[in-house]
């Protein structure tokens, strides 16, 4: 996506570009990434619902959402496969931006300021903060655990591939990983909601200039510095 500095003809609405506004808007995700994200998100939500249906009897009623127990059991792993593929397409595009750096250490050490909303005490950040990166890597790792253990537990096709003691461990890990990913998911969603103005990054693809200034100033400065700015309307 990088455009050599000084190039004027930034494509309208392309990622990491600024629309002068008013109000100023920054394009955070192009449509491809957004579709990709929502496929991933919906998969995980369906997995969570279908998985939890089997996780505990009190949640078994959730199978009704999928057309009954048999359907739930059948669908869940397939959705898992969709999740896995979809997430790792996203992953391939984002992993570099999520590599940790020195600012992340500082950010993390001031976590109380993060929670308290005292952004002014935090270092200026690039496109992602340490929390997002944690979620990113956490999701990635857990999805790998889930797909591997999920396949081992997938009776219909792979029930004979591993021994039963192995499958027992797989299911234990799978449910632990599921719990973990659900926690990560909650964190992710809540962070998106709590940090007002974030959701639109994944719906419309843009954030306001102020949002970018407040949360990811380095990123904003960077694209501004590179002149990735659309002319005002």
């Amino acid at each position: 996506m990088s455009t050599p500095a000084g190039t004027k003809h930034t494509k309208l609405g392309s990622e990491d570009s600024i629309r002068r506004g008013p109000p100023v808007e920054v394009v955070r995700y192009g449509p491809g990434k957004r579709i990709n994200h929502w496929v991933t998100a919906i998969s995980l939500i369906l997995l969570l619902l279908s998985g939890l249906a089997m996780f505990h009897p009190s949640l078994f009623f959730l199978t009704e959402l999928f057309g009954g127990g048999q359907m739930t059991r059948w669908l869940h792993p397939w959705i898992g496969v969709v999740l896995f593929i979809s997430f790792f397409i996203l992953f391939a595009q984002l992993w570099k931006l999520n590599l940790p750096n020195r600012d992340d250490v500082k950010w993390a050490s001031r976590i109380t300021d993060v929670i308290g909303g005292h952004e002014e005490n935090l270092p200026e950040l690039g496109k992602y903060n340490a929390g997002q990166k944690f979620i990113f890597w956490g999701m990635a790792a857990l999805i790998i655990v889930l797909i591997v253990t999920g396949i081992m537990a997938w009776e219909q096709y792979f029930g004979h591939l591993t021994s039963i003691p192995t499958q027992r461990i797989a299911l234990l890990l799978h449910s632990l990983a599921a719990v973990a990913i659900i926690l990560v998911f909650i964190l992710h969603v809540y962070a998106a909601i709590w940090t007002r103005g974030t959701i639109r990054a994944m719906t419309r693809g843009t954030v306001t200039g102020g949002w970018a200034w407040r949360h990811h100033r380095k990123w904003l400065k960077d694209i501004a510095g590179r002149g990735r700015i659309d002319p005002a309307e």
Partner: protein, 330 residues
């Protein structure tokens, strides 16, 4: 429940010929998978048991064919792979299987051909039921029979993982779990299991668990008199005892009988998975959800201020100016 007939006492004596109402009903359940609050049954049926005397078994497979006929399953015609076990394993169409082991007794140097009828043990503490996520897919009656209710089964295969004896099999045709029912449908109307009925040598007998234990004592005494000093009854306490028991000539080494578990119990992994994980998992997930909701309701949201929007605008405008200047310079 005064008038209802209790379980049959034995498969050997002639069963009733007059029609009978089923004697195993929902109200006789003492456990039901994925069901926490099961009403206490009003009555306690006499615990039953099938006793398989391995020392009397001639491996004729009459039990296997009777089981197929009674349950109307349709096992495939396979191939020979160099052994007498056919099919080669339990399947969703074969609830019981004769397993043949050629064992040379190190003490006598004599060959012994150990033939064990494999199938569900009807554990008092059934791992399958413990693992099952679908309410009512596995039930346990107060007479000890552990039965699969196929209508409720979702085909997840957890029972396979929960069972310490590797018994249930998931059908490729309808994706439901199958195993020996202890002929619950026959027992319910006063008949013994089909396999016991077919067994020509009465290696399989059926009756109350108490009677079967007594019967086993006699058999064990006979075996001891024939030099099998370690003859004994296999009724493993690790699963709370079973309602299918074996008389073994070498009860000190159950593993020589085609890997019969020495001390079967529900695997610790399964216990953790179905125990701690569930409680802790549900707790942390609910806490996290509740925590975020509360935080969302009561804590201040992280908002972008007007001032910040302006700062951004300034930055952008500055950048634009810079750029334009540069262009001009160029």
């Amino acid at each position: 429940m005064a008038n209802t007939m209790d379980s049959p006492r034995t498969a050997v004596s002639n069963p009733p010929v007059q029609p009978m109402e089923t004697n195993l009903t929902q109200r006789d359940l003492i456990r039901r998978s994925a069901t926490s609050e099961l009403p206490q049954p009003e009555r306690q049926l006499t615990p039953v048991a099938k006793l398989i005397d391995v020392s009397k078994c001639i491996g004729c497979k009459a039990c296997q064919s009777a089981c197929v006929e009674w349950n109307d399953t349709n096992p495939a015609v396979g191939e020979n792979v160099g052994v007498y076990e056919n099919p080669h394993d339990l399947t969703a169409d074969m609830f019981t299987l004769m397993r043949f082991t050629e064992w040379v007794n190190p003490e006598t140097d004599n060959l012994e051909w150990l033939i064990r009828k494999d199938g569900c043990m009807h554990c008092a503490d059934p791992g399958c039921l413990k693992a099952c996520p679908a309410p009512g897919a596995i039930v346990q009656y107060s007479n000890g029979i552990v039965d699969f209710i196929h209508d409720n089964c979702i085909g997840c295969g957890y029972c396979v993982k929960g069972c310490p004896f590797n018994i249930p099999r998931i059908s490729k045709a309808d994706h439901r779990a199958y195993k020996c029912t202890l002929c619950s449908d026959r027992v319910a109307v006063g008949q013994g299991p089909a396999c016991a009925k077919a067994c020509p040598t009465q290696a399989i007998v059926f009756g109350t668990k108490e009677d079967m234990k007594k019967h086993a004592e006699g058999r064990i005494a006979d075996l001891k008199s024939r030099g099998y000093a370690n003859a004994g009854l296999y009724d493993p306490p690790g699963v709370g005892g079973t309602h299918v028991m074996y008389v073994l000539h070498h009860n000190d080494k159950p593993q020589i009988y085609a890997d019969l578990p020495v001390d079967p119990k529900i695997s610790a992994v399964v216990q953790t998975w179905k125990g701690a994980t569930k409680y802790a998992g549900l707790a942390v997930m609910s806490l996290a959800a509740a925590g975020t909701i509360l935080h969302g309701l009561f804590a201040k949201a992280n908002r972008v201020s007007k001032h910040e929007e302006e700062e951004a605008k300034e930055l952008v405008d500055e950048s634009v100016e810079h750029a334009e200047k540069r262009e001009e310079d160029a």
